[in-house]
Subunit: 180 residues, 2 copies
């Protein structure tokens, strides 16, 4: 369990990607991403912190193990956090995730009323918090989250690159293995 934050941080100061809390909490998300890597899952990790209660959820991508297309790190963390708070409204919380959320996860952020999302690597192919869509920032939806991208970007991205590099390598030695 991450120690409690001394005081609830000002949401405005958190809009700065260089806020020291961001690097600290992203480290836990990175630990989760490394755990995914070790389990041969696409390495994405997520953490949810409640400013009052500390870290209430941490999860990593488990799509292959669970054979569940919804088992992205963010989705598992959101369900875990709601269970911890016994409420579907994750007010006073922030989600940290190593990769920019996809449309599913960005939609779940809106559903959960999360006020803040901090992500590491940008996802030019499916990112829905800036790259392809800006779902949590959409004024037409009934909730908006502040989004901060690029925190520990290089480490988050390198983990993903390395994973796919390894997979391509092992697919060349085992050509029968299906990759996608």
């Amino acid at each position: 369990m991450f120690p409690l934050i001394d005081q609830i941080p000002d949401l405005k100061t958190l809009s700065d990607a260089r806020h020291p809390l961001h690097a600290l909490l992203m480290e836990i998300a990175l630990e989760e991403a490394r755990a995914a890597y070790a389990e041969d899952e696409v390495p994405v990790g997520a953490v949810i912190v409640s400013w009052e209660k500390g870290v209430i959820a941490r999860a990593h991508n488990q799509r292959e193990q669970l054979q569940d297309p919804t088992a992205h790190a963010e989705m598992l963390a959101i369900t875990q956090a709601a269970s911890a708070l016994q409420s579907w409204r994750l007010e006073g919380c922030a989600l940290y995730v190593t990769l920019e959320p996809c449309p599913m996860c960005a939609g779940a952020i809106v559903q959960a009323r999360l006020p803040l999302v901090v992500f590491g690597a940008f996802d030019s192919k499916a990112g829905a918090c800036q790259s392809l869509y800006s779902i949590p920032q959409d004024p037409r939806l009934n909730h908006r989250a502040m989004v901060v991208g690029g925190v520990r970007e290089a480490e988050c991205q390198e983990l993903l690159r390395d994973f796919f590099r390894q997979r391509r390598r092992s697919s060349r030695t085992e050509p029968e293995q299906k990759l996608s």
Copy 2:
């Protein structure tokens, strides 16, 4: 369990909202929506049919009961269907849902590689299959689904309207109850 379909229908003929299979399968989704209503949940129901195996999942919105922001009918049905097929790829399947999917659920449709989505009522406030976004049809994402809207639209919509009408009525008699 819905009886097996005699033969796998042609995806092209299913693009017609008047295809008789649509009305039939939407009836099961409507049953689920009525079950949600009876449990005081926003009445949305979903069904997933595999053209080879028949109905493999049926679920309704359980956000309040589970206190889980991700517990929309579609999400529960997708996880159920993947479990039934022991695969996160819902190929050869179709999702029927009484309300146009939101961004989260539309994103999950893409993640699950569902080839066909049929919905009842349009959702002008949060719909992500035509109204606000067209996520399953986005050529930039790594999967596209065919989307058919407006099947048994009036019944699907009326159930929702009636639910919110009742809620407003009971909130007038019990003013302390929080609605949203």
